[in-house]
């Protein structure tokens, strides 16, 4: 598939914009560079392309700021396999969003087939490469450890996280289960299941366990019963012992009491309560005797009081008359209260009534109707208010008519004559507005000057050839940082390696000297020498045993001594030999260390040398002295980049200045044409001022015309209002006339009525007050008359002569005092009489009580001795006697009861043992022991019952069963997931091996070609090493050194990843046909040489399919022109 044109119909800030990607001529690569500064719309165009292919985002669209989402529309012309050239469009609908050139819906399968079924994400992963993706991809493929399958897959799919993915999947599976693993989820879960199983089994109530618990329960019950029985026996023994002791003690007490009773008077026991009764009788006799004396005194005093207070016979009838008088009312109020007020207020009320009558007459005179009855002019407040409103409405309407009529006349006078109508100068205004926007080019000119100065400042610290350096291409910033960071550590490594090597060499030489010294020592005789001496001795012995001569004897003796010496020396030299062996080992170890340090020293020296060479080359590329420290590289790089950017910006500013000047010329021509059409002629030099004057004059004419038109409209409006006011006045007049006709005020105008309104309101108030006062005076006069009649009647009752002139209230008050005094006297006399009677009765009762008490006292002491004692002393002595008798009886009863409550045999046994001071303690101990045994067996019995019950009730461990089920479910899920992960890792690794096998021939060639092209001359080829764990990709340097991928620098890995992606693209294009490949500013950090190489690779993509390069670097555009024949350049403007 090829993209021929992208239509940004309504999308982002674009409206009906197109990006055309012409089809290249034969034998030229299909490469389009889309160049635009930041914010020019490159990202918008790229997103539009993706949304055309895969549909638009359905909500919160980022490019809906100019057009609503529902209006967004993108399109493209595509060359599609098997379909040829087609135009498609895409809108933002959820369904049927893909349209043909006529706007008719097209199935999405139309595109998906051409895209080989790739989804949006797949497409982006495979066919988009940007700077960040290149860097991240480079870093991530390091994780592949050179695995060929993973690397080729990364190239094909664009997915670089395979190594991490597989590691993480394996780790997740291992977390669940790992052979021999102790901390795995599975192990922990199984341990927990085991614990739970044990706990559940322990609490399970099996029939056997139930039988065991029941048997234990029965046994505990039997044991408890036996102990309980023993306790019962002990209690009987204790009871018998206690009873015997009590029998013994009470018998002793009875003997003492019998002796005491012989000394006290004889006679029967006092009756129950005799002590209290006798005491009470003595107290009664005393009290009643005193009461008789007191009564005699009281009776004498009360008889005198009765005689001193005689009765008033007329007072009762007078009191009844007064009560009747108090009940009388007049007008709902008590007569007495009303009469009291009447007497004092009557005169004042009559005077007030007369005053009101005079005021009413004056008011009628004020209204000029003195002969009219006041009542005919009394009007209520509400009706009076209606009358006032009707009069006011007449006056208001009259006023409105007059005001509006005057307003119309004044407006007509102010409007004056009609001015001339304004002319249409809109064309001239538009041309003038446009001219003004481009009239001033000074600001842009100043910008050019400012940027020129900035460039001069930026290059002042740079060599004169800075521009050539930039044009030649700057090294990658990452490379500079890498070298700057690496150089000090490599130098330190070199110094360290040198020091270490010297140290190891000295150590080796020292060890060598020591070994040589130990070797030369005579005591270092070895085992071979000893064996040789023994062998010589044995030979001499064989010879001597055969010859048995003196010579052979001497020789044997000498050999024997030699052998002895050798053995002695060997024994003596064992320590020296150990020392020698140690010296050999030390020497060898020192040699190994020296060789290693030598190797490290050589390696680091080589690395340092290479780095120094690289540093010199970088310094040269940056225009610095070859021996410049790499630490200064980044600053110089930054200065160069800034200078280049400032220069580029200056060029842009200059170009914009030219464009602005062109616009100014066009605006001049347009203004001149418009002025001519408006009739403005004259020289060009003052055209602007004449146009400005004409437009100003035209504004003034337009304002005058508008003002006159507004005045005309206002007069028309006022005339309408005047007609309405006339109509309103007629209505008010009619209403007022209807009101005035109901009153004796004929002929009065609205103005007159408003003047009379206060008099009418006053007349209403005065008339109302006068009527109320007349009624009150009548009521007061009635009350005074009634009271006088009552006073005359009550005076007659008391036997006095009535005085008609006397104040009836005073007469009645005097009678009231007499009646009250008579009542008080009667009350006191009656109370004295009642108390006199009561005292007489009380005296007789007291005398009778004394007689009865004396008789009862004699009865209580009947047949008792000690008659000479006073009653209280006598009864105390007899009570003491009776108490002794009762105590004796109680002791007897108690001892008999004790004996009866105990077992007879046991009682006799225990009584026989008394007196015995320790017997009670012995019996108590027996009891305590039995109780303890019983308590213990009771607890055992209770516990056995509890266990039995708990087995049913409390042993439910459902939380454990729930946890057990949960763990099993988690294990089921976890096992399944672990199996999925393991199978996934297995399948993926197998798939990657297959991928390597399938693609190694074609892709490796492509990878090598691309990698060498972009990294030359640092790398000469790539190779594949077969290792146990699989095939590994390595890079080959020109000297034949093979470098595993994971040992490559970050920059090199990024370049390798680029080469893999290019190979992947070629592979896809071979298998399924080409799709457009998007390269988004991937060469931002490349120096020119590498950028050229990268562009050449893009050219290769363009030969397999279509390459679209987005960039905002102008120099890359130039490089592309130089590098790729027939490259198409599209510039996007902001």
């Amino acid at each position: 598939m090829r993209l021929n044109r992208l239509d940004l119909t309504r999308y982002g800030r674009f409206s009906d914009a197109q990006i055309v990607l012409p089809i290249p001529e034969d034998d030229t690569a299909d490469v389009t560079v889309i160049y635009g500064l930041n914010e020019a719309g490159k990202s918008t165009a790229f997103t539009a392309y993706l949304e055309l292919l895969f549909g638009m985002k359905t909500r919160d669209h980022p490019y809906e700021f100019r057009f609503k989402r529902s209006d967004l529309l993108v399109g493209a012309e595509l060359d599609m396999p098997n379909r040829g050239r087609v135009v498609l469009q895409r809108n933002s609908k959820k369904t049927q969003s893909l349209l043909d050139d006529q706007g008719r819906p097209v199935e999405d399968t139309y595109l998906t087939a051409a895209l080989q079924g790739l989804g949006r994400d797949d497409y982006v992963e495979r066919f988009l490469l940007n700077g960040e993706g290149l860097r991240k991809g480079g870093a991530r493929i390091a994780g592949a450890q050179g695995d060929l399958g993973q690397l080729l897959h990364a190239g094909v799919s664009g997915l670089t996280g395979m190594a991490s993915t597989l590691d993480q999947m394996a780790a997740r599976a291992d977390r669940f289960h790992k052979k021999g693993g102790r901390g795995t989820d599975l192990k922990r879960a199984k341990d927990r299941l085991t614990e739970i199983g044990q706990e559940l089994r322990a609490t399970r109530l099996t029939p056997e366990r139930e039988r065991g618990l029941a048997a234990a329960c029965d046994k505990a019950t039997a044991t408890f019963d036996a102990a309980d029985c023993e306790l019962g026996d002990a209690r009987l023994r204790e009871a018998a012992s206690s009873a015997a002791q009590l029998w013994y003690d009470r018998s002793e007490d009875i003997r003492v009491i019998d002796a005491d009773l012989l000394k006290l008077p004889d006679g029967p026991d006092l009756r129950k309560g005799s002590t209290e009764a006798i005491a009470r009788l003595v107290a009664t006799i005393t009290e009643k005797t005193l009461r008789v004396s007191e009564a005699d005194e009281n009776i004498t005093a009360l008889a005198k009081d009765i005689a001193d207070h005689p009765a008033d016979d007329a007072a009762e009838a007078m009191a009844a008359e007064l009560a009747q008088l108090d009940q009388l009312t007049i007008d709902g109020a008590p007569l007495m209260a009303r009469a009291a007020t009447a007497v004092s207020d009557l005169g004042k009320r009559i005077a007030d009534r007369n005053t009101l009558r005079e005021q009413i007459d004056q008011t009628l005179a004020g209204l000029s109707v003195a002969d009219v009855p006041a009542a005919s002019l009394v009007v209520g407040p509400e009706k009076l208010e209606d009358l006032a409103q009707a009069a006011q409405a007449v006056l208001t309407a009259q006023n409105a008519v007059e005001t509006i009529t005057e307003g119309v006349a004044l407006a007509k006078e102010q409007r004056g004559e009609a001015p001339p109508e304004p002319q249409d100068l809109s064309h001239l205004q538009a041309a003038w507005d446009t001219w003004q926007t481009v009239a001033d080019v000074t600001a842009q000119q100043n910008t050019v000057t400012t940027e020129t100065a900035r460039l001069a400042t930026a290059v002042v610290v740079l060599p004169k050839v800075w521009a050539e350096l930039v044009d030649a291409g700057l090294p990658a910033r990452e490379t500079l940082i890498d070298v700057a960071r690496t150089m000090p550590s490599v130098a330190a490594d070199l110094a360290s390696a040198q020091t270490e090597h010297k140290k190891c060499d000295s150590a080796y030489r020292l060890a060598q000297s020591k070994r040589q010294a130990d070797e030369a020592a005579p005591s270092a005789i070895d085992l071979a020498t000893t064996a040789q001496a023994r062998r010589l001795r044995d030979e001499k012995w064989v010879t001597h045993r055969g010859a048995m001569s003196a010579k052979t004897a001497d020789e044997f003796e000498a050999a024997m001594h030699g052998d002895d010496d050798a053995h002695a020396s060997f024994a003596d030299g064992s320590e020296a030999r150990v020392q020698l062996a140690t010296a050999w080992r030390d020497e060898k170890a020192a040699l190994v260390l020296r060789d290693k340090s030598q190797e490290r020293f050589d390696r680091v020296t080589q690395h340092h040398s290479e780095l120094a060479t690289q540093s010199s080359a970088l310094a040269k590329a940056l225009g610095l002295a070859p021996d410049t420290s790499p630490a200064a590289f980044t600053d110089r790089y930054t200065a160069l980049v800034q200078a280049a950017q400032t220069a580029a910006h200056l060029e842009n500013v200059k170009a914009e200045f030219v464009v602005l000047s062109d616009h100014r010329s066009a605006a001049d021509a347009d203004l001149k044409t418009a002025a001519k059409l408006a009739g403005i002629e004259g020289a060009d030099s003052d055209l602007a001022s004449r146009v400005r004057a004409a437009l100003t004059l035209q504004d003034s004419v337009r304002q005058t015309w508008a003002q006159w038109s507004r005045a005309k409209d206002a007069i028309t409006d006022l005339e309408g209002k005047a007609a309405q006011a006339g109509s309103d006045k007629d209505t008010a007049d009619h209403t007022f006339a209807a009101f005035i006709a109901a009153l004796p005020l004929a002929g009065r105008t609205a103005q007159d009525l408003i003047a009379a309104l206060p008099h009418l309101r006053n007349l209403h108030r005065l008339h109302s007050d006068h009527e109320k006062l007349v009624l009150r005076i009548e009521a007061l006069e009635d009350a005074v008359a009634l009271l006088s009649a009552s006073a005359a009647r009550i005076t007659a009752m008391g036997g006095d002569v009535n005085d008609p002139e006397a104040d009836p209230l005073a007469v009645i008050e005097k009678v009231r005092i007499r009646v009250a005094r008579a009542a008080s006297t009667t009350t006191r006399r009656e109370e004295a009489q009642r108390r006199h009677t009561a005292e007489t009765t009380a005296r007789k009762a007291a005398t009778d009580a004394v007689d009865v008490a004396q008789a009862e006292l004699s009865d209580w002491f009947k047949d008792q001795g000690a008659e000479d004692l006073a009653a209280t002393a006598r009864v105390a002595l007899l009570a003491k006697r009776d108490a002794l008798r009762a105590a004796r009886n109680a002791h007897d009863i108690a001892r008999k009861a004790a004996r009866g409550g105990a077992k007879a045999a046991l009682f006799d046994e225990e009584l026989a043992l008394l007196p015995n001071t320790s017997r009670a303690a012995e019996v108590q101990q027996l009891m305590v022991d039995a109780q303890a045994t019983r308590d213990l067996t009771f607890e055992m019995h209770h516990e056995a019952k509890r266990l039995y019950q708990e087995a049913f009730d409390a042993a439910d461990r459902s939380e454990l069963a729930t946890e057990q089920a949960t763990i099993r479910e988690e294990l089921r899920t976890g096992a399944r997931q672990a199996a999925v992960l393991r199978l996934g890792v297995l399948a993926a690794k197998g798939a990657l091996r297959r991928l390597a096998s399938e693609r190694r021939t074609t892709m490796l060639r492509d990878v090598e070609e691309a990698f060498v092209a972009i990294t030359a001359p640092a790398w000469s080829s790539v190779d594949v090493w077969s290792q146990t764990e699989g095939e590994k990709l390595v890079g080959i340097q020109p000297d034949g050194t093979a470098v595993p991928v994971e040992m490559m620098s970050t920059g090199t890995m990024g370049q390798l990843y680029f080469a893999l992606r290019i190979a992947g693209y070629r592979s896809f294009a071979r298998d399924f046909g080409p799709l457009p490949m998007i390269l988004d500013d991937i060469m931002e950090t490349f120096d020119d040489e590498r950028a050229k190489a990268a562009l050449q690779l893009c050219s290769d993509i363009g030969r397999s399919g279509q390459a679209i390069i987005f960039t905002h670097h102008a120099h890359l555009v130039d490089l592309a022109r130089d590098t790729i024949e027939g490259v198409n350049i599209v510039e996007m403007l902001r």
């Binding site: 996280g161 029939p207 139930e210 087995a951 946890e963 949960t966 199978l983 197998g990 297959r994 399924f1072």
Partner: protein, 392 residues
């Protein structure tokens, strides 16, 4: 005249779901089977039914635990004292109902077996035979009594009928033979998914498990109330389970960002809410970018503000490609790899090692039957993880 019919109560069998890791749910459901059984007895009393019918597998354990029996006796005695007798038979899990070993259950609790196959209650003749061993290979129907004329005849049988997926064949019996035996109603047990069969006026009802214990039993959760009268029996089902299992299918392929993903999951979880019972949701998610673990974490985050809903399991699926996946080399090559003898051998070895490491009772999770699904999931897992990794 009404009966409550239940079976397969599996007393003291716990619920099996990862959702129980939630402490609140775990606490509420640790006695789920007992609570549900109490609810059935409550329902029988409140509905004043003629009898409570239990068609076997009242217990769950293969080992006898008298606590479970004590619970059953307590509950049925409660029903009896309220005037609701119980008629029941033994299923293949009901050793605790062995009357020879453990004695009778109590007044008005009628265990039907070979020696006592029938009982009459309020004009209804109940007939049933109990399992005498844990497995019966032959049909019990020929041994059932003939219907009693003049009475309504109700049969109780614990049977796998003609066979059911997930259930071993126990006392197999052809449906047409059962319905033609002459009884008016058959109360069945053993199969945990409820269903009913009719033939003319005869009804056979499988009430299903009243409290589902795992996702596979999600169609249970109810008892049957059967009304007997002049016409054919009338069936009504009532929910009694305290927790239900549901499945929710989600499609995240159109989601543009994380907030849309969360919205879709939130909608699904809230849609699963039930006003009166807890719900364990199994999410089946169509996505090209999210692994199971990612989705689980997102769902759990949302559940903090949704009551009575819990996650049973989450499973993610990669969407099908619109055309064949030839362009996806990795997937294609993995599929080819699956066919390799070497891979299959390594795969079998790995699975066997894992299977052996598991407790015996859950080794079926990695059975041969599950292999194809495991392999498909493995391919999807690699693909999802790889795309997810590169998206970071």
């Amino acid at each position: 005249m009404r009966l409550i019919v239940s079976a397969d109560t599996h007393l003291d069998s716990p619920i099996r779901s990862v959702a129980l890791r939630n402490p609140a749910l775990g606490d509420r459901l640790k006695q789920a089977s007992r609570d549900t059984f109490r609810g059935i007895v409550d329902l029988a009393i409140s509905e004043s039914v003629v009898a409570l019918v239990l068609a076997g597998d009242i217990f769950d354990n293969d080992f006898p635990d008298l606590k479970s029996r004590a619970f059953l006796v307590t509950q049925l005695a409660r029903a009896a004292s309220a005037g609701v007798p119980t008629v029941l038979i033994r299923g293949n899990h009901d050793a605790l109902l062995d009357h020879n070993a453990h004695g009778a259950l109590g007044p008005d609790i009628h265990l039907l077996h070979k020696g006592n196959p029938s009982v009459e209650i309020a004009g209804v003749a109940f007939h049933g035979l109990s399992f005498d061993s844990s497995h019966i290979a032959d049909s019990l129907l020929p041994d059932y009594p003939a219907p009693i004329a003049g009475l309504t005849n109700v049969g109780l049988m614990h049977t796998s009928l003609g066979g059911s997926a997930g259930h071993d064949p126990y006392a197999p019996c052809a449906e047409q033979d059962l319905l033609a035996h002459g009884f008016d109603l058959w109360c069945l047990g053993h199969i945990h998914t409820p269903f009913e069969r009719t033939s003319g006026p005869v009804l056979a009802v499988m009430p299903g498990i009243p409290q589902p214990r795992h996702f596979g039993e999600r169609f249970g959760g109810c008892v049957a109330i059967v009304t007997l009268g002049d016409g054919p029996p009338v069936l009504e089902r009532r929910s009694v389970g305290h927790l239900r299992f549901v499945e929710a299918e989600l499609d995240l392929t159109d989601c543009a960002d994380q907030s849309e993903v969360l919205q879709v999951i939130d909608n699904a979880l809230k849609g699963a809410q039930d006003p009166v019972r807890d719900t364990a949701v199994r999410l089946r998610v169509l996505t090209a970018r999210h692994t199971t673990d990612d989705l689980h974490a997102l769902a759990n985050e949302l559940l903090e503000s949704i009551d009575r809903v819990f996650i049973d399991k989450v499973k993610s699926f990669a969407p099908d490609k619109p055309t064949d996946d030839n362009a996806d080399d990795l997937v294609r090559l993995m599929r080819e790899e699956l066919q390799e003898a070497g891979f299959q051998q390594a795969n079998a070895q790995m699975l066997e090692e894992l299977r052996i490491a598991l407790p015996a009772d859950i080794r079926d999770a990695l059975s041969e039957d599950a292999l194809d699904e495991l392999l498909e999931d493995a391919i999807a897992e690699v693909s999802l993880s790889l795309h997810g990794m590169d998206a970071q």
